[in-house]
Every structure is written in structure tokens, then in C-alpha cells.
Symmetry: C2
């Protein structure tokens, strides 16, 4: 019944939810630092949003797209919305991939790239990472005539590291004009490094570049599913052809529109993230671990000798949910979301307790 390539797809393992751990453990003081969600909550109170729930969402004429375009400094024809940026990545693959095509990305990166390759029948090629950072030379060396899409997460999930604006230019210059380079900037708003990519400038210059972002992170709307892609208009026009007419729900359109105006929330989120990074790095200094420089709202911590699954299980016993990196080919590493001050302190306390016992 099913196509042959379906067998190769292994199911995605999301971060465990607070409710599911409550059910198992009976504990009530559980914190989740496993999915890089905003510890301050959402940028908008959705119960205050008026929405005709019975009506189909009006993607085409909703004022959110022009508003977002003004916010970014692009034309509305340069934007496409998705049911989370996950769906943008899927639409890109649906629009571009024919049998025999390759999708290229880095090792130890967001699992969605491999997933969309598998569901569209593309061959997925992984260039090796270097120092927990996307390795530009390896990416460029792995480009073939069959490379149809290159996915680069910047900052990279799960390591938090970035490649610079010039690095991205190198990749764009090496890619053929019929290869779509997709820069996944889900964590862009957190990046403060002076050499971080200027997506708007790059889009103006490169007709084969698409940049994706999301309302799930800094705007705290992961439950509602809004992501967007920006590129020159012809790219957007092509990808629009595979978009389901009602892909973004009506409440999400309203919520994202309101969230975009909440500058104070974004500022508070950045500040709490900055403080959290600094606290966690200090607290983790005594450990014999390695933490690559993160420009996102999470840290990748390699403990070198401790098995990550065992550590994550022990942390869950103590009510702290973080993510094991075993599935990313990093058996001794975890990824932890930067939380509120209390959450970070709790994580550190429980972590040190666990490490004593492991």
C-alpha cells in the first residue's frame, strides 16, 4: 500500500511534555527545558483574541502578511506562511524535489531536514560538522549536480552555534542557481554576534535563497503554529503552489499579528535569555564538560563520559525535562533550554545531584 521509502522513516521524538511526566511520576513541580520554548510564556494572551472560529482562515487577505512585510522591510509577495516553519520546510521540498534529487545539510542538526527528504523521496546527504558548528567547506564539497536544496540551521539546533554572514555568502556562491539554499533562522532573534547573517540583504542579492523563521520561539507561540519563509518573489510564487489553502489557522494569524507588536516582550525575552546564559555558563564551569558558544535560547552540553539518556532519565526523576542528544549522534551530550532564573537554578541543583550518583 505504502511507497517503499516510507520504511526508512523513523518517528520523531519530541521533548516529553510536563503532563506526560506528571502522569508517570506523580510529581507536580516539573519544569520543561527540552523544547526551546519561551520561559516567559506567550507574547499575547490568546483568550483576549476575537476570532470567528467557525470561519475558514483568510490567508490571502488577512492583514498579517502586509504587517509582517513592513516589520521585516520586504514586500508581501516575498513572504509565505506555514503551519510552523516545519511546514515551510516541507513545502520547499514538495515544490522542488523530483526522484533522484539530493537534499544536503550538516550532521548534528535539526531532524526536520532529513524528514522532509524522506517524505519526498530525496537522497539526504550529511556533511560533517566541525567543532559543533556547520562546516562550510564540508557543505561546499558535498554539493553535487543533484543537490536541489541545502538546509542550514543558523543558529544551529541543537548546538546553538552560528556560521557568519560571509560563510553563508560562500555557500550561496558555491551553489548552482537552481539549488535552493534554505537558511533556517528559527532562533535568529536571539543571535547577537556582530557577524551573524543579515537575511534581508542576502535575499535582495540571491534569487536562490530562502530564509525561514518562526513565532514558536521568541514570540512564545509554539502551540499555535506560525512560521514564515522569505525570499525573492518568484521563489515564493513557486512554493505557494504547494501550500494548502487553509494551512495557517485563523487564531494563529491573529495571535502572530498581535505578538509582532509586543516589542517589550521580545526585549524581556532577550534579557532573561542573556542573564540565563551567563548564570548557566558560570554554574557549569566546574564540570568537565564542553559547551559550544550558543547564539540561541539553549545550551548544548557535552559531558564527555556520562551517557546522556541515563542523565536525562535521572533528571526526569527529579522533575527536570531536558533533551538527550543520543538521537543526534552525540551520546554524551544534552540540550537544555535557557529558562527563568528559578528554572535555571533548579536545573543546576538537580544536575549536580544527578552527576553525584551517575
Amino acid at each position: 500500500m505504502f511507497k517503499d521509502s516510507l520504511n526508512s522513516i523513523s518517528p520523531y521524538k519530541p521533548g516529553k511534555s510536563i503532563e506526560s511526566i506528571q502522569k508517570i511520576s506523580g510529581k507536580t513541580d516539573i519544569i520543561k527545558l527540552a523544547s526551546n520554548e519561551n520561559p516567559l510564556g506567550p507574547a499575547v494572551d490568546i483568550s483576549a483574541i476575537a476570532c470567528h472560529s467557525e470561519r475558514y482562515p483568510d490567508y490571502t487577505t488577512h492583514p498579517f502578511i502586509p504587517q509582517l512585510a513592513r516589520h521585516l522591510g520586504v514586500d508581501p509577495t516575498q513572504l509565505i506562511l506555514g503551519n510552523g516553519s516545519d511546514e515551510i520546510l516541507q513545502m520547499v521540498a514538495l515544490a522542488c524535489i523530483s526522484p533522484g534529487d539530493e537534499i544536503l545539510s550538516s550532521s548534528c542538526t535539526f531532524s526536520e531536514y532529513k524528514f522532509v527528504a524522506q517524505i519526498t523521496g530525496a537522497t539526504y546527504v550529511e556533511a560533517p560538522m566541525k567543532d559543533h558548528t556547520v562546516h562550510v567547506e564540508s557543505i561546499i564539497n558535498a554539493i553535487t549536480k543533484q543537490t536541489k536544496i541545502i538546509f542550514i540551521a543558523n543558529p544551529n539546533n541543537p548546538t546553538g552555534t552560528i556560521i557568519t554572514h560571509d560563510d553563508v555568502v560562500q555557500i550561496l556562491n558555491a551553489a548552482s542557481s537552481t539549488t535552493l539554499v534554505v537558511l533556517d533562522e528559527a532562533y535568529a532573534e536571539y543571535a547577537t554576534h556582530p557577524d551573524y547573517t543579515n537575511a534581508i540583504d542576502l535575499i535582495a542579492q540571491y534569487p536562490n535563497l530562502m530564509v525561514t523563521r518562526t513565532f514558536s520561539k521568541i514570540y512564545g507561540l509554539a502551540a499555535l503554529r506560525v512560521g514564515y519563509g522569505m525570499a525573492q518573489a518568484p521563489i515564493i510564487q513557486g512554493i505557494q503552489k504547494v501550500r494548502q489553502p487553509f494551512n495557517v489557522n485563523g487564531l494563529a494569524l491573529e495571535a502572530a499579528s498581535m505578538a509582532l507588536k509586543n516589542h517589550a516582550f521580545v526585549e524581556r525575552s532577550l534579557e532573561i535569555n542573556r542573564l540565563g546564559h551567563s548564570f548557566l555558563r558560570n554554574a557549569l564551569r566546574p564540570l568537565d564538560g564542553h559547551i559550544p558558544p550558543s547564539q540561541a535560547n539553549f545550551l548544548f552540553i557535552d559531558f564527555k563520559t556520562i551517557h546522556a539518556d541515563a542523565l536525562c532519565d535521572a533528571l526526569i526523576q527529579r522533575g527536570v525535562i531536558v533533551r538527550s542528544m543520543v538521537g543526534f549522534g552525540e551520546p554524551t551530550a544534552i540540550r537544555v533550554t535557557v529558562g527563568t532564573e528559578n528554572q535555571n537554578q533548579r536545573f543546576i541543583t538537580e544536575l549536580f545531584e544527578c552527576l553525584k550518583q551517575l
Copy 2:
């Protein structure tokens, strides 16, 4: 950059929204009977729903799937949720279609079937309709060795007609065991005909049947995007492999869960639909038009001599949005959603005014 088959995709034309017509016309008393939405509104007040908007939706452990399974009398392993049933149809095609495969459906039916064929590169085969009803014999005659999926809308959108339980059995018996028969029952709850399909019985008997339904119609949650598919567990397991991990948003899970408990709303919706059908049929009797028997919340009206686009434009000038069937190959027909008593009366009044002038 894009795959060749993309050129063949023509964009979907959704029903025009009230807001877009307000903008154009300046009118404020606009009614929309163009998208088969519930005229009573939603089954639940979403502003009363508590939802952690910042958290990723927890598809796997959310209590909604077990609840829906109990409601339907199936096992939770027999259900899959989608971002609307649109996405279920897309997932079915993504899971099954390889190059060279065919997708078979009827002429004058829901445009989504052709769309998912186009985005997955399947050849789309249309069997001719008879008397505005899916023609079982034509469907069966059009089955080939390449037929991978058969989509049947029952009741059919846009004609409202049904095929019987025995008709569906005939199709299932004619289809090979590796052909997935998808019965799209988006309007099932409205169907009162004694010979209408019993989906649960059929699923128990046929391992190659999937039935899809939605919360967009009788539950009035079109804005939130929740649809579901039910089938024997192995089918669901296969299709789960192509499901995006966070495809159904968190608020939609909560809302659908609450809506399912609102039996009184469903009863009221059925009653208003029954009354509306009866009023509209009586009022339309003087016209020289043809209306196939509808088991859904809309009527298909063929005026035989009047061009549907012109009629729809004239109705919009008067503040009534209905759908032209020109795009469905029916140049003299419109589809109108059964509304509230006031809406139905308004439609009839404006329609007769328009007909005088056309």
C-alpha cells in the same frame, strides 16, 4: 529550481471572505454562504479555553485522541489527526504515491484530491459523474493497476449527493488490496439517508479503507483546523510516518475536545440545517433550476441558462457571498450554504432580485 509538475497546479480559489467584500464594497451587512461553515458559529467559545500557547502541542499524549476514539467506537490506534482533513488527504498521498501511480476520483468533486495528486506527482484520473452523483460503475471501470488511491467524497462536495453503503462496498470489492479507498465524510454528520454509509462497520471489514472527517463543519471550528482519519491500525501506522510532529495546534486539540462534548450544539445545527433545506427548496421551487438531493449543509443549484460567475458577482453586489461552480465544470450552477433563517431569507430575496436583472 522547481519540479516540472508544479506548472500544472492552478491556485485554489477559496470562498471570498466577509472582510474582503466589506473592503471592496463598503457594505457592512454581508453574509457568507460560500464555504459551508456552520451558521451557528463554533461549538465552543475558544476564549474560555486554557492553553499554554508557548508550548509545542503534545499530539502523542493529549487526551483528545482517546476521547475521540471512545466517541466513535474505535481504538485510538485507528485514528490520525490532521491540520484539517485537507492535511489527512495530503498525508495519504505522501505515504502512498510513487512516480507513475494514479489517483482516481469523480468529476465535479472536492478540488483537494486533484491538488494532492499534483503535489505528489500522481496522475489524476476523473471518472464521469452521473446525475450530479458519484457514478460507481464509472469509478470501477476507471480502476487500473496503477490506481493507488481512490478518493470519494460522501456526501459529495459540491453537489451534496451521496452514494449508499452498498455502493461503497462495490467500490471496495473492486479495488485491489493495495489500493487505498479514502471516503471523505466531511459532511457525514448532516447525512440522514437510511442507506448512508456506516463507516465504522466498513473499516472493521476492509483493511484498505480510510474514512476522513472534520471539525470544520458541524462543530464550527474551521478556523482552528482539525480533521481526522480512521482506518485499521496498520494504515494509520503507515500514514503516521509522514505526519509532521506538531501538525495539529494546541488550541485546536483543546477546542475539538470540548466541542465533541457539546451534543446540544450538534442537535441545534442539524435542526437549523433541516429547517433551512426545507425553506430553500420551497422558495426555489418556482425557478427553472435543478437541485440535486443534498445530504449536506449546502445546496447545488443549476440555473441552466444563467452564467454562474455573473450571478455570483451580482449577489456580492447585494452583500451575499455564494460559490460559483464554473471552476467545477458547471458554468450555470452555484453552491449555497444553508444558513440561519434570516440568512436564507436574505439569500432568496437577493437571488430573485438578481435573476430579474440578469
